[in-house]
């Protein structure tokens, strides 16, 4: 099988991250999420903890750009992650990547298969409540907060809007069949697509 890269965009609580991990496991390829900072930090002998708080965030506060250089820490970390994704893609490796505007970063890469996972509000709130042991109100607030942040981040660095079906190859509602079944469905769809592509 030739190189393939699966990017998974997701709404908070939709199970998109879990779906990405199932796909990575089924295809037997690595999955990159925040762990890309760990890998990068380990390679360069720095502490990844300093980088976590700035990742997947739109630039904050007053900033300035000079000859393509930005004073925003969020911009720098975003570029660091985009470069990491580009380098992995250029190396010929197949992988699954969660968020980080990957479908935009690799939009001209023929190996890319982009997915966006959404969910019904009730199902997402239920999932968040269960996973983080929160009441429904807290879970809903957490969901809105995270989605707002992700949307702002994505729309700032990408050409297409977050969750807009025109920006992805597959858009799926994980609440219809459940997270695991959705992951299985996507696995079969992508496997079929890759087989067709091989011919």
């Amino acid at each position: 099988m030739g190189q393939f890269i699966i990017s998974v965009g997701r709404e908070y609580g939709s199970g998109g991250h879990y779906i990405a991990s199932i796909l990575a496991e089924r295809f037997n390829v690595p999955m990159y999420d925040r762990n890309m900072l760990d890998q990068w930090a380990e390679k360069n002998g720095i502490d990844a903890e300093n980088l976590y708080k700035h990742e997947e965030m739109k630039r904050q506060g007053l900033h300035r750009t000079v000859r393509g250089h930005s004073s925003s820490v969020q911009d720098s970390i975003a570029q660091l992650q985009f470069n990491f994704i580009r380098e992995k893609a250029a190396s010929g490796e197949s992988f699954v990547v969660v968020g980080r505007c990957a479908e935009n970063v690799l939009r001209d890469n023929p190996a890319l298969i982009s997915i966006f996972v959404r969910g019904e509000e009730d199902a997402k709130v239920e999932r968040i409540s269960r996973l983080y042991k929160l009441n429904k109100l807290e879970a809903k607030a957490k969901m809105f907060r995270h989605d707002k942040k992700r949307k702002a981040y994505h729309n700032y660095y990408s050409k297409m809007k977050w969750g807009d079906s025109r920006g992805y190859d597959f858009c799926v509602n994980s609440s219809l069949m459940g997270v695991e079944a959705t992951a299985e469905g996507l696995y079969h769809l992508i496997s079929e697509y890759l087989k067709e592509k091989e011919k």
Partner: protein, 449 residues
Amino acid sequence: MLAEIFAIVIFLAMFVLIVWDRFPKHYVTLGCAALTSIFVFGIGMRDAHAFVNTLAFKNIFKTSFWYSAGEAAEQTSGINWATIIFLWGMMVMVEGMAAAGFFDWLCLKIAKLANFEPRKIFVAFMVLSSVLAMFIDSITVILFLAAVTIRLARTLKFNPVPVIMAEIFCANLGGSATMCGDPPNIIIGTSLGYSFADFVMNTGALAAVSLVIIIIYFYFTMRNRLQNPADKVDPSTIDVDIKINDKKMFFWSVVIFAIAVGLLITHAMTGLTVAFIGVFVAIITLCAGRKRFKELITRVDYETLFFFIGLFVVVGGLEETGVLVTIANVIAKISGGNAHVMIAIILWVSAVASAFIDNIPFSATMIPVINALAQTTGVDLSTMAWTLAVGTDIGGSMTPIGASANVVGISTAGKEGYPISWATYCKELVPGTIIVIVVSMLNIYLRYL
């Protein structure tokens, strides 16, 4: 009155758009320049002469633009073509030096001379940053110095963040020392007719005192955060490759740099203007690096040059409508004609403004203001010019957005996994900036008033 209102609104809109940083800066200034031409010179003033005066094309064709015996002011209002042409020439020269590997070679050579000892490198790079920034734009200086610092930090296991912040500060300080060190100085020099030597004798002397003080301050406040003693690496085990990419180009880039410095130092004696020096240096760089002609020409930062052109037209609108004279009168009134108060206002307002807004439009706006102040209050123009240069150049060090070098240093560090937040930056460099501004103010008071 209509023209004044248009000029002020367009000027303020330009500043807001620059600070907002949503659109490229050169689009903002060129767009505002077009609006100034239509609304201020056209609808408001109905004065084609003021518009032509601001474009200042005819100056380029005067002999005095290229060669001027004596120290006459090279240009007083409108687009300062001398600044733009000089910057273009220096950008071509710096691209030639960078392509030859000059900066990497110099930084690594100095690190080796410092025996790869982090504390010595820290001090040596502060001095190197200041000295290079006296002749080369601070963006280029920090671009190379920060990259080499990170490379060395990974090999020698030290924290590059304090070193990069100190380098940024020293680049801004070194830039204040000469006429070509920082764009505000070039604009001040070409607008008011000061020479390279004038700057060295005045802002250079002020910067030298400040540099000694700031090196001591940074050394004692940052040395313990440079390296964990357990991480110390034996210098004899260090293997850093100090190579030159293109030996022929390297030789010529050093020669051309020496010629540029020589011409700048002697330009008041030779009568060669900075515009001439810029073009001459660019031509010899392009001849020496003719194989890379296209690369050298295309890599010049034209966006910054267009930014300047638009900016000068907008400021020209304020000048032609008399708004800047009104501002000068307000400063004169507040200070009651007292030179000490006036200098303090110019210095601190320039420093604080430059900490948040681009110091280039600020200084371009303030030059006609200090010119008017000198005429109405009798305070020496040169004293105010040096004060303005020091305030705008050094004030920019205070925040991450105050100067181009800060942005480039922070960005280079961030992309390599060393994020420098507003809090981290300001905690280190606000006290340093205040110390240098206070020292400079006392120096100005003692020497000139």
